[in-house]
Structures are given as structure tokens and as C-alpha cells.
């Protein structure tokens, strides 16, 4: 990867809390990440792991109240987003830092045409005459391979299929040439063939436009095929980080291993082998995983001992570009070697 280059997006020791009736919940705790130009970084975890909150925090879109960024910094190209006033922040949103949301059915405004919705971002950030804006809208619609763009531009979201709507979302995000694209579960709501098309489109756009992509997903299959690097989140904390091939081949955290184990493989599913049974991770993410004294995963971990339950494992360097927050990462290295 382009390690020598200046990173585009740097999130440093981010912590986000939500105030609720039964006190405060820490949704994201001490998460750091760096994203370089042209790189696809995957943020992986199950529901409640803090991956979406992290991405929303990057755009400072956490609803406050009840949410609040309690510590940490978010820098885009060396500029601390927290130091920007609302007006300056709005100039970054949708321009340098754009986002695609999970559900294209609900993320487009049903009462505005797709042309209006894409056009307002262009008008806001780049300006131009009505004809110029319209030409640019058609251009981005064609970029995301929407056929008959000059007809689709005047249609409403309900007149488009799910895959088409997600393309519109991507077109909207790309319309002002962002340098960083955050894609929050961009394919979860789509069926498998459309899913593959959308991901191929994202990879292709990354090549052509040199964007950096922060890909948020719970699907390690998607990660394996699309990402360059992976960060695994659990209970709002980073538990493992590394280049995608190494991390998937040699996971150094039991949670990552659990995630990989619960993924179906075509070859093993076909065999009659008893070991081919999908292994689930027992239990669910505890609500207070972040505030437990020990490792947040200990209650669900087969390797956990008393030490794990009382002492929180620090993020440790476990190889070139690799981090793991597990007391037993050595054991895992031997086990999988």
C-alpha cells in the first residue's frame, strides 16, 4: 500500500457516548484508524460493534443529543474536523467526505426526483448553470452505469429498483468528487448478484478516481474480495487490524476467528464432513462490553481465563502492520500456523 504517503483520513482515539435513560453507553471506545488515498479499508463487526457510529462520527453526523463525541480527533487531510464551524463543516460534507448509506430504499427522499437530489449537492458545492448541473448529473449517473440516465434523472426513487437506487446513492456521493467515500453496509439490503455488481463498481471507481473508501460491513466475504486492510471492531473497541489476506488466513484474535468460522464456504458446505458445520459465536455482544474490567469478548471466548476476565488486553503489535487485542494472540499464531 501507499504507506509512505500522507494519510487522507485519520481517526485518533475516538470515543462516542450515548446518553440514555439507564445511564451512558460507550458505543465507540478508543478507536483509531488511518486511510490512505486509493485504499479500501474495511471496518468489520456485528451489530452494536460501533462501526456505523464510527463512520457517522467521521462526518460529525452523530445525533447530539443523545450522542456525543467525548474524545479523540478526526482529521481529513490534516484538518481537524472538530475545529470547523458548521458552515465549514458543511463544505466538507458531501464534497471531500461523502457517504453511502445502508438502505437505499429509505435513504433517498421519496418526494424529490433523483435529479433534484443529486443536483442539490452539485449546486451547493460546485454551482453552475442549470444546464451544466443537469449535464453533470447525467454524467455521474452514467458513471455508476445507470442506463437511460437522461430519462432516469426525472424519476422518483420509487420508480427505481433497489440496485438502481443504490447506484443513485453512489452517484450522489460521487457527484462532487469526494476524496474519501464512506460506504456503510452498501450492499446489505441488496440481493447477491446486485451486491457483486455494486462492489465491483466501487472498486472500479476507486481505481479510476483514486478515492479512498472506508467500507463498513459485517460480511467477511465482502471484505476478503474488496478490501486492502481490515479493522475488526468488537463492543466499540478495535480488537484486530491487518492486511486483508493475512488477517483472514491467520486471524490473531478469537473473535475474528469466530467470525471466519461462522462464514459458509461453498466447498465445505458440499462435503459431508462433520467439521464443516458452521460454527457460531456463542452469546451476544454484552451491552457494557466497553466498561467491563477485562476483555469484552471473554464471556464468549473459548480461550478466556481469569486473567482475561479481569485485565483488559491492550492492542499489541503482532507482526508487520498487524495489531491484536488478545492476551493469547501467540497461542492463536501457533494454532493456525
Amino acid at each position: 500500500m501507499s504507506g509512505a504517503q500522507q494519510p487522507l483520513l485519520v481517526i485518533d482515539h475516538l470515543a462516542v457516548e450515548f446518553r440514555g435513560r439507564d445511564g451512558t453507553t460507550r458505543a465507540v471506545d478508543d478507536v483509531s484508524l488511518t486511510l490512505h488515498a486509493g485504499e479500501i479499508l474495511a471496518l468489520v463487526g456485528e451489530s452494536g460493534s460501533g462501526k456505523s457510529v464510527t463512520s457517522l462520527a467521521a462526518l460529525r453526523l452523530i445525533p447530539d443529543p443523545p450522542g456525543k463525541i467525548v474524545s479523540g480527533t478526526i482529521e481529513l487531510d490534516g484538518i481537524d474536523l472538530a475545529s470547523l464551524d458548521d458552515r465549514a463543516l458543511r463544505r466538507v460534507r458531501g464534497k471531500d467526505l461523502a457517504m453511502i448509506f445502508q438502505d437505499p430504499m429509505s435513504s433517498l427522499n421519496p418526494v424529490l426526483t433523483i435529479g433534484q437530489q443529486i443536483g442539490e449537492a452539485i449546486r451547493l458545492h460546485e454551482g453552475g448553470s442549470d444546464q451544466a448541473v443537469r449535464a453533470r448529473i447525467i454524467e455521474v449517473l452514467e458513471l455508476v452505469r445507470i442506463p437511460q440516465a437522461d430519462m432516469r434523472i426525472d424519476q422518483y426513487p420509487h420508480q427505481l429498483s433497489g440496485g438502481m437506487r443504490q447506484r443513485v446513492m453512489i452517484a450522489m456521493a460521487l457527484s462532487c468528487g469526494p476524496r474519501v467515500l464512506i460506504a456503510d453496509e452498501p450492499t446489505t439490503a441488496l440481493d447477491v448478484t446486485i451486491q457483486a455488481q455494486i462492489l465491483a463498481l466501487l472498486r472500479d471507481l476507486r481505481e479510476r478516481l483514486g478515492m479512498a473508501i472506508l467500507l463498513i460491513t459485517h460480511d467477511l466475504g465482502v471484505v476478503a474480495e474488496n478490501a486492502d486492510r481490515v479493522i475488526v471492531l468488537y463492543g466499540g473497541r478495535k480488537v484486530e487490524e491487518g492486511p486483508v489476506d493475512e488477517l483472514i488466513r491467520h486471524p490473531r484474535h478469537p473473535y475474528t476467528r469466530g467470525l471466519l468460522g461462522s462464514m459458509p464456504h461453498l466447498d465445505s458446505a458440499l462435503s459431508e464432513d462433520a467439521h464443516a458445520r458452521l460454527v457460531e459465536i456463542p452469546g451476544a455482544v454484552p451491552h457494557n462490553a466497553g466498561s467491563l474490567p477485562g476483555c469484552g469478548f471473554a464471556a464468549r471466548c473459548a480461550l478466556a481465563d481469569d486473567h482475561c476476565r479481569t485485565n483488559r488486553p491492550p492492542l499489541t503489535k503482532v507482526g508487520a502492520d498487524r495489531l491484536s487485542a488478545c492476551w493469547k494472540h501467540d497461542q492463536l499464531a501457533e494454532g493456525s500456523a
Partner: protein, 322 residues
């Protein structure tokens, strides 16, 4: 071709909706007519005065057709209505239609202006309250809504008169100047009544606006709009309000019924020669044809307004195919 088809479909829908209002209007006509038939009191006796003999009353009664059967009288009246004839006032002998026509301008002016006042107060208030739920702004707006809804129109009217016409004599206490006399005097006489009546309606519309906006602001597409970098107002007005429009226009239609009763009170307090005053006078004089005519007019206006509002849904939401 596609466009022509949808225009045809639209026309068909509108026609169907208009036809569907006919039974409603018929029912209204029957109810209006029977209510007064069943009401106690004898208009012949009222007309004849205190010293009239029984023969005299009977003569007046038969001259008014009050001695005929219910069905006969209803068919007679209904036939007239269909021909645009609402009968003659028992009191003045003049045609009901011309009595109403004379009084229509002040009432329409009052209704439209008070609705305008209501919308100007309610929409911004409801939108801002929903934008920051639980804030002092929200509490203030909803406090106003509760107050506006619970203070009777006549109380607010007299408070406004005391404040802005008596203590601070900047506006006339009462009366009406037609629009023909110039926009200045017309508005000066209309401000207080339109405001007194508008506040009541504003309370209802503000609450509905807030509720509809709260629902819309939770939607994912609002976050999309924010992620685009749109300023708050553009998000609230351009993205949220249009989605919240349907419940808001619906409540405006429903509140029209409330507005009518408010018009009667307001016109009386401010001495405005409108249909509301005509109604009150007609009731006091048991002037049956006028009462029937006025109630029928209000009912038809209510039904038609709500039909228009139903038809307007397609303008706000393209998913509603008419």
C-alpha cells in the same frame, strides 16, 4: 402517450371523487332539513308576534307551507336547492341566496386571512419545535399550542380588542370595510379578527406539523441530506416539510369545521356583517330557510375543501397515483 393516459386516469379519478360526494351532500341536506323540522318553536308564532290570534298564526303557517307533510316540504325545498333557489327569508321576504351572497365577502376574507395567520404562525413553530424536541423552543411552542387551543375565541378577541384597540388605540375596535374601499382600511379592520380566529387554528396546525416533522426527521433520507452538506433550513424545509405536508394539509381541511364555528363567534364579537352574523340572526328569528341555506353552504364548502385536499396529495407525494 404515457402522459396522456395519466391525465385521463387523473380526470377519471377526480370525476369519481366528485360523484362520491353526492350521497354525502344528500345526507347533509336531509339532516339540515330535519334538524329544523324537529327543533322546537314555531316560526309562524314568532312572525305573528305576541298578540296574534290562533287563526292568524294558522294563516301564516299555511302561507309558509308549514302545514304540509315533511316529505312534501323536503322535496319542494330540495328541488329549489337544485335549481339554485334556497327559498325566501321568512323574516325579510328576500331570497336566501342573495342574503348569503351579500354577506359572503367578509366571511371569505376572514376565513382566508385567519388561515393565513394560522399557517404563518403554525408552520415555522411546528418545524422549529420538531427540529429541537425538548428544547425551550419546543416547550414554548407547544405551550402556546395548548393555550391557543384552550382559550375560547371570544375571550381572545376581547383581550386583543382591549390591548390593541382600547389601551393602545392602533386598530379599530370592530366593524368591517370592504376590500373595494381600499386595502388599507380593509386590513386594519381585519387584523384583530383574523388573528383572534387564526390563533385557535394555529394551535392545532402547529401540533400536527410538529408530530409529522418529528416522524419525518427520524427517516434515513434526512441523514442523507445532512451528509450532502445542506444547511439546516434546506434540510428542514426542502427535505422534511414536503414529506410532512400530507398530514398538515389534512388537518387544515379538518380544522375548517372549527373555523366555521369560530367565524360565527368572531363576526359577532367584531360586528362583521358576514355569513356568521347572518346565521346567528337567522337562528334568533327562527328564520328556517336562511338557517338551512347557511348550513348547507357551510357543509358544501367543507366537503369540497376536503375533496380538494384529497386531490392535492398527489402534488406532495409522487407515490400517490391518483
Amino acid at each position: 402517450m404515457c402522459a396522456a393516459l395519466s391525465v385521463l386516469a387523473m380526470l377519471e379519478y377526480v370525476l369519481r371523487r366528485i360523484v362520491a360526494t353526492i350521497p354525502v351532500l344528500l345526507l347533509v341536506a336531509i339532516i339540515v332539513f330535519s334538524l329544523l323540522y324537529l327543533a322546537p318553536g314555531d316560526p309562524a308564532a314568532v312572525l305573528a308576534g305576541d298578540q296574534a290570534s290562533a287563526e292568524e298564526i294558522a294563516r301564516i303557517r299555511s302561507s309558509l307551507g308549514l302545514d304540509q307533510s315533511f316529505l312534501q316540504r323536503f322535496l319542494q325545498w330540495g328541488g329549489g336547492v337544485l335549481r339554485g333557489d334556497l327559498g325566501q327569508s321568512v323574516f325579510s321576504g328576500r331570497p336566501v341566496t342573495s342574503l348569503i351572497a351579500q354577506r359572503l365577502e367578509p366571511t371569505i376574507a376572514l376565513t382566508v386571512l385567519s388561515l393565513l395567520v394560522a399557517l404563518l404562525i403554525a408552520i415555522p413553530l411546528g418545524v422549529l419545535a420538531a427540529w429541537r424536541p425538548g428544547s425551550w423552543l419546543d416547550r414554548g411552542a407547544m405551550g402556546f399550542a395548548v393555550l391557543g387551543f384552550s382559550v375560547p375565541v371570544f375571550v381572545l378577541s376581547y383581550c386583543l380588542i382591549l390591548l390593541l384597540a382600547v389601551a393602545l388605540p392602533v386598530l379599530p375596535v370592530q366593524g368591517y370595510k370592504p376590500l373595494m374601499d381600499g386595502i388599507g382600511p380593509f386590513l386594519r379592520h381585519m387584523i384583530l379578527p383574523a388573528f383572534a380566529l387564526g390563533v385557535l387554528n394555529a394551535a392545532l396546525i402547529a401540533r400536527t406539523t410538529r408530530a409529522a416533522m418529528l416522524e419525518v426527521l427520524r427517516q434515513d433520507y434526512i441523514r442523507t441530506a445532512q451528509a450532502k452538506g445542506l444547511p439546516v433550513m434546506r434540510v428542514l424545509i426542502g427535505h422534511a416539510l414536503k414529506n410532512a405536508a400530507i398530514p398538515i394539509v389534512t388537518i387544515i381541511g379538518i380544522s375548517f369545521a372549527m373555523l366555521i364555528s369560530g367565524v360565527v363567534v368572531t363576526e359577532t364579537v367584531f360586528n362583521i356583517p358576514g355569513v356568521g352574523r347572518l346565521t346567528v340572526d337567522a337562528i334568533l328569528r327562527r328564520d328556517y330557510p336562511v338557517i338551512q341555506g347557511v348550513i348547507l353552504l357551510f357543509s358544501v364548502a367543507y366537503v369540497l375543501l376536503n375533496l380538494l385536499i384529497d386531490l392535492s396529495y398527489g402534488l406532495f407525494d409522487p407515490r400517490i397515483r391518483l
